[in-house]
């Protein structure tokens, strides 16, 4: 098991390094140009070519690509994530403030999605073909195709504009005022959690139905165990492995969705930072956000793989 974990850890590190290479070089090979964006955005069109070249030189963008890459990577390892081309601010400092916000939002959504989704999926599978199962199945199928922005628009209209119960934008840190923070997060979490709830429900139902037909579940029934023990300890524990895989993958979806959600609700997290970087074609800014997101996603997949051993002892032996 230890060798398995070490091998997967090394693979994960390799994967993250590959992400940095891909993003770094793809961005620079595509036609976009942060300096041009900067010049037009700040209406500095009167700048001469020499001045533009100076800006390029100042940001190190005139050096060979490979050299630029290693300078950036070397900085990352030393804790210097570079400076934004647009705002000149150090990126690491900004990330430190923004990562906790997005992570808090994302993890709350993911945990709610997992718990609610699994619960609903189990009910649906146990009461198969009942009206409750039908309602849950339809709702879960709808839930995986609602655009994030549509949930946001509905939520803002109903709870913000009509009922005036919830604030429609802004973010309050839970450390400052827990109640106000929770209130400001209900709508964003609703947007981000809908897909995980629906996705987990569908996956749980499918794999529960599969597991319920297995021999060991029949054995558990025939031993005369109570329904609760059979379902929770024998069926659910085994049915959860594919659900965990999906939940690991959903973290990426949530982090992607937080770009949209943070824009709508004006939450100063990493998603908004990524969007601003993309709009300004600000290379170091985008690199910083992508690196953090990729580490989070790869780490989630690693944890899922390791947790497999717990869910399914047959894997531990291998």
């Amino acid at each position: 098991m230890t060798t398995f974990i070490i091998r997967r850890l090394l693979q994960s590190i390799a994967c993250v390094i590959l992400v940095t290479i891909i993003v770094f070089f793809t961005m620079r090979l595509l036609p976009g140009d942060p300096i041009r964006m900067l010049v037009t955005a700040q209406s500095m069109t009167i700048m001469t070519e020499e001045q533009i070249e100076f800006l390029r030189h100042e940001n190190g963008l005139d050096r060979p690509l490979v050299e630029q890459y290693f300078t950036w990577m070397g900085g990352i390892l030393k804790g210097d994530w570079g400076r934004s081309i647009t705002s000149k601010m150090p990126i690491a400092g900004e990330l430190v403030h923004r990562i906790p916000i997005t992570l808090y939002l994302g993890l709350v959504s993911l945990i709610i999605g997992l718990i609610l989704g699994v619960a609903v999926g189990v009910i649906s599978a146990v009461r198969r073909n009942s009206w409750l199962d039908n309602v849950i199945t339809v709702l879960a199928n709808v839930g995986v195709c609602i655009p994030v922005f549509l949930i946001a628009v509905f939520g803002v209209y109903i709870f913000g504009v009509r009922l005036k119960w919830l604030p429609i934008y802004g973010f309050v840190s839970p450390l400052d005022d827990f109640w106000a923070s929770t209130k400001s997060l209900i709508l964003p979490v609703l947007c981000l959690a809908t897909f995980p709830i629906a996705g987990c429900a569908r996956q749980t139902r499918t794999s529960m139905l599969e597991v319920m037909n297995q021999d060991y579940v029949r054995t558990a029934w025939s031993k005369g165990l109570s329904e609760r023990i059979v379902i929770v300890r024998h069926a659910l524990k085994n049915a959860l492995a594919p659900v965990m895989t999906m939940t690991g993958m959903q973290l990426g979806g949530i982090l992607g969705g937080s770009v949209i959600v943070e824009k709508i609700f004006v939450i100063p997290g990493m998603g908004l930072m990524g969007l601003r970087g993309v709009l300004g074609q600000d290379y170091p800014y985008i690199q910083g956000v992508v690196l953090v997101v990729a580490i989070a996603v790869v780490l989630a997949n690693l944890l899922v793989d390791i947790s497999y051993g717990w869910f399914d002892p047959r894997i531990r032996v291998r």
Binding site: L30, N141, V153, P242, G256, I260, Q281
Partner: protein, 300 residues
């Protein structure tokens, strides 16, 4: 030799009979599920909107009319008008073209490139295969919408660039699927036999590997069509995909946000349109998967 020609004719009719029988079975399985039928109806309506948009509405999706801005629904404007006095329903109908076009092109392009990469990776298992798959893994660890945003922004927005961005973001999923399939199919004896008689790799790939994996790829294409449409709507909503005045559903929701209090339909109508179309393609994709290959249940 009349005898052989008769038997071969018989064989041909048998094969075609089996084909139509199989086709009927698939249709029967599809139509037996209410949600799939609902999805098919939505797709039919979508196609009607795509083909007959100019006939269905007397208005122009681009022509602004400052005297008729922000009207509530009425008989002349069934869904009302937007902030520039354009008929909302008209823009919705024309928006169907953009959604469907982008969805189809993206899915076909991603499937073509992804399938090719996956097949090569599965066939040449050694360093080339593992290099391709490691790159695919890396690309997959960047959230799709973020990756598409970056590519679309650097390419400069617009319909073609959005298509490229989304196709790149969706490619790894096909590569992974095809890779897995090829590794399994390769184990079969007939591949070994082909190799033994000295067939060329390209021949084996096109004649044996691809046809064996085709059903799964078709199912995934159907299921991803919804995802592609959803992602395009997200990009356009963020202002990086299809930008106004082109009537893309995502950007229409974004434009409507400012008028949510007085004219919520400006947001709701295009948003619900996206949801219905994605729902329809997902349901038909699900149905197709169950009809073509029930073993895939839960894996795709």
């Amino acid at each position: 030799m009349p005898a052989t020609s008769v038997t071969s004719e018989k064989a041909v009719t048998n094969v075609s009979k089996r084909r139509t029988g199989e086709f009927r079975r698939i249709v029967r399985v599809l139509l037996s599920r209410k949600l799939v039928v609902f999805g098919l109806v939505i797709i039919f309506l979508l196609l009607v909107a795509v083909i007959f948009a100019p006939v269905l509405t007397p208005y122009d999706p681009y022509k602004t009319s400052l005297r008729e801005t922000l009207q509530q629904p009425s008989w002349s404007h069934l869904l009302g008008t937007d902030n520039l006095g354009r008929d909302l329903l008209t823009r919705l109908l024309y928006g169907a073209r953009i959604s469907l076009l982008i969805g189809l092109v993206v899915v076909v392009a991603a499937a073509a490139v992804g399938t090719l990469l996956g097949a090569i990776a599965g066939y040449y298992e050694r360093w080339l295969g593992s290099l391709i798959m490691r790159v695919m893994d890396a690309v997959m660890s960047i959230p799709m919408i973020l990756l598409a945003l970056i590519i679309a922004a650097l390419l400069g927005g617009g319909m073609a660039n959005v298509m490229i961005a989304l196709a790149v973001a969706l490619t790894p999923a096909y590569a992974r699927l095809m890779h897995g399939q090829v590794l399994t199919v390769k184990q079969n004896d007939y591949i070994l036999a082909e190799r033994a008689i000295g067939s060329r790799s390209i021949h084996i790939m096109l004649r044996h590997l691809l046809p064996n994996c085709l059903p799964q790829i078709l199912v995934v294409m159907a299921m991803m069509l919804g995802g592609a449409i959803l992602a395009e709507a997200g990009l356009s909503f963020l202002g990086i995909g299809i930008t106004p005045p082109t009537p893309a559903w995502g950007s229409m929701v974004n434009e409507g946000m400012q008028y949510l209090e007085t004219n919520p339909l400006m947001c709701f109508a295009p948003g619900i349109a996206v949801m219905l179309v994605v729902f329809a393609f997902n349901m038909v994709g699900d149905g197709l998967r169950d009809a073509l290959d029930p073993r895939l249940r839960g894996t795709i």
